[in-house]
Subunit: 200 residues, 2 copies
Amino acid sequence: MKQVEGGLRERKKLQTRAALAEAALRLALEKGPDNVTVEEIAAAADVSVRTFFNYFPHKEHAILGRNPAHLERALELIATAPAEQSPLTTMRLIVHDVLRELLDEGELSRRGELIMGSPSLLYHLMLSSMDDERQLSVALAERIGDPLRARLVVSNAGAACRIAVELHRETPDAAPADLVDAALQLLAQGLDPDYRKGQS
Amino acid sequence: MKQVEGGLRERKKLQTRAALAEAALRLALEKGPDNVTVEEIAAAADVSVRTFFNYFPHKEHAILGRNPAHLERALELIATAPAEQSPLTTMRLIVHDVLRELLDEGELSRRGELIMGSPSLLYHLMLSSMDDERQLSVALAERIGDPLRARLVVSNAGAACRIAVELHRETPDAAPADLVDAALQLLAQGLDPDYRKGQS
DNA sequence: CACAAACTTGCACTCACTGCAAATAAATAT
DNA sequence: ATATTTATTTGCAGTGAGTGCAAGTTTGTG
């Protein structure tokens, strides 16, 4: 019979993944992200280089430590949302869900600092989040039947999230969650009430 | 004496650069951007691989070929906009300005098509234009004195632009400019009127 | 215990990209 | 015109990312 969840294999995989991500982040913080090699990361996690690439497609993914579960939960949230829930509301739930976990891990600032300082990390973060956004857009478009609006909602929720984290770095007093809410509020009710198409 | 402009050396450099960019674009279109090697590009331009890297830091830069004038004009537009012009309106002018030139050059269908169709190129483009967005945000923030709103406006205008071009690829009937306007309209007047913070 | 499935690993390979030093071509001085 | 300085090209050697494959090892299952 297939073990429901707690098989040794599963646990070891999670463990290896965590060890690699942890080592990658630690080494990146110590030596700067561009001075870390996959060889070092693999060695620090006691696996072969090849195994590293079985877990992460790029070195940067390990440092970013992106959790695939987040995307899964997000898609789940979109799929199971009550019909009357407005799209931006769904996105807010998703963002808060992810944000809560990131804050719990307490690594948001450490990692964020690192990422913002490294073009290559930033690039890969965008790379992978764009892929996420694509999937979320598709899911949301199916639910609300308006591709343009779906993409805008997803894309702008993502932007709101990034900007909130960014502003939080500059003014740590403001909680990321509150900044996100402020941004979403702006988006929901109109970013620019005075906007007129014909205006010059 | 130093030649003012038309030295043989200068001309040859421009020529080599152009030949490399041209070859890169052509080969990328022919074989798909990910199936082109620097070796091929260099061979097509009749220079060594090493010389390629004297001109472009990455393979992608040769394919992308960005125009620095666009950013300059955008900053100019923000700085000289009449005080009563709403921020999103300014962004609309900027987007249309760039879009017009891209359409004129026929780049949107050649280079643009390629870029939008290739995740790797798209993200390289985003990476290199991220600095642009930062500068635009700063300029706009100074003008309207609201950093959060400024960043959201810039960031979302950028997203609207990308999404419009993307949708245009899927349904060529719709003009990019019109799609941009539709997206901005949504943003301006509220992406999600039913959004409520406390709602679940 | 035996067998199947999943995971790890080493190996050989391609490709991007860099530093260095030698060769070559162009600009300038004599 | 020729020698000299200066910029550009190039080959070469090397690092490091990332992939495919086949063999070895570990874990789950009957």
